[in-house]
Symmetry: C2
Subunit: 277 residues, 2 copies
């Protein structure tokens, strides 16, 4: 749906196409329920505010999603919000008439055992640039992730970790990273680059329920190599333990397993608030 | 034209829309001649190669432009090349079927005296992030320029200068910057961010014809304040002297004027190679 109407195309003048001038979020739908819908809408509203793109409101986007879910009950929802058409060059139009795109795609066919057995990951050569003004946001300027994801084709490698320009480990191309060391949890700080995922925030809350705090820190390759356990979070796959980083084996440990269970419980609980059609 | 066919819309799945996964160039058309067409095509080919987007070839893009110029002889051409649709998430499709968009817009109504009297510019708060892998390229991830251009509405301020994250002055939101000091020319290095404009390269060649070399250097705000002369280059307006930076007056000097004349001569000369219909 483009602005609530069935459409397969977008205005070529849309600033989302011209400049990547927009934000988005991606979430799974299971049994007709968009998982953590409210959190994803809050995220898109927060990111849009940082770019001064007017948020069309929870109700209008909920209506779009209800329309799509009339015919399909499983898949992955992508919700995009752009600054619409107009303006002169980079200068934003006044007023802004944002474009909203809500699309439902088939869910990726991730084997279920990845959640328990863990995944192999690589360390990408492509770096994340530094820009605090855009850090944390899920915006539509994603060339860095594309350069990184183009580095490998081996289907057994499920994710690539990205370092920033200064060599700090920040995240995966499509996921956030957590490390366990001596029973403590840490995740990279996202103040200079990176995407602050909805499931990252939820994982931190799930950790708090287990009386574990998560420190947001700078992580280097030595920290990564020294971790007792490591895992990735993402709204579509939830939590994947990491079992291998390049050639190094990593234990899939007890703390990761406990947190995964608690995280899934929280997602189930919160997803029940969806007001379906 | 989208892939050679008249169209006002683009596939919503196009990676140019989804991720800003593409490159572009912008050039003026005067008396039916696209100015410096070959240089702009070379630029888009070079930038596309850096992103591994297949270049559709000079002849195909020339044909698109000839088609558009059948009906209009003045304006601004924008040529975009994206990675097309497909792929899984950030992962590029294999093979890539790129999308080319060629559009002709009305020329901006810049007063002619800006070329002689010069322009007022501001210094933007929004910073350019650092990423050598994307530096120099005219790609479709342009949120930084949008944030900068949204900072002012005063029509008398024609451009905003942008600093990088470390405080070095790099360029304007839509133009490159040159400084004159003690008879010598300098322009900011674009190895960590910025767009290496076609007219920037031409201005450096025009300077060489005048037996002036242009040093590519790091420029700070003190260098900017200490400049004897300063000017901006851009393919649409050519060369604008800077007559004011924030509250500081800048002389529109002799060296800038001589270079502007030489630059315009070069543009005229090279633009004659266009093979019109």
């Amino acid at each position: 749906l483009v602005n609530g109407q069935p459409a397969a195309t977008i205005d070529v003048a849309d600033r989302g196409f011209q400049y990547g001038d927009g934000v988005f979020t991606t979430l799974p739908v299971r049994n007709g329920i968009p998982r953590l819908f409210r959190r994803h809408l809050d995220r898109i509203e927060r990111d849009a505010r940082r770019l001064a793109i007017p948020f069309p409101g929870l109700e209008m986007l909920s209506e779009d999603v209800r329309t799509l879910l009339d015919s399909t009950v499983e898949g992955v929802l992508k919700i995009m919000l752009t600054r619409g058409s107009g303006g002169r060059g980079y200068r934003p139009p006044e007023p802004v008439h944002p474009t909203r795109v809500v699309a439902l795609h088939p869910a990726p066919d991730y084997p279920a055992e990845l959640e328990t057995e863990g995944v192999a990951v690589r360390v990408c050569r492509a770096r994340l640039g530094l820009n605090p003004a855009l850090a944390g946001m899920k915006h539509m300027n994603r060339l860095e992730q594309i350069l990184a994801r183009a580095e490998w084709t081996d289907g057994n490698v499920r994710e690539g970790l990205m370092l920033d320009l200064d060599g700090w480990v920040v995240e995966g191309t499509m996921s956030n990273l957590f490390l366990v060391k001596d029973g403590r949890l840490a995740t990279p700080r996202l103040d200079r680059c990176g995407v602050a995922g909805v499931t990252r925030a939820l994982a931190m809350e799930a950790a708090a329920e287990l009386a574990l705090t998560v420190e947001e820190v700078r992580v280097d390759l030595a920290d990564l190599a020294a971790a007792d356990e490591a895992f990735l979070t993402n709204s579509v796959f939830g939590l994947w333990p990491i079992r291998r980083i390049e050639d190094q084996q990593v234990a899939v440990g007890d703390l990761t397993r406990r947190l995964a269970i608690r995280l899934n419980e929280r997602v189930d609980r919160e997803s029940n608030t969806w007001q379906g059609s």
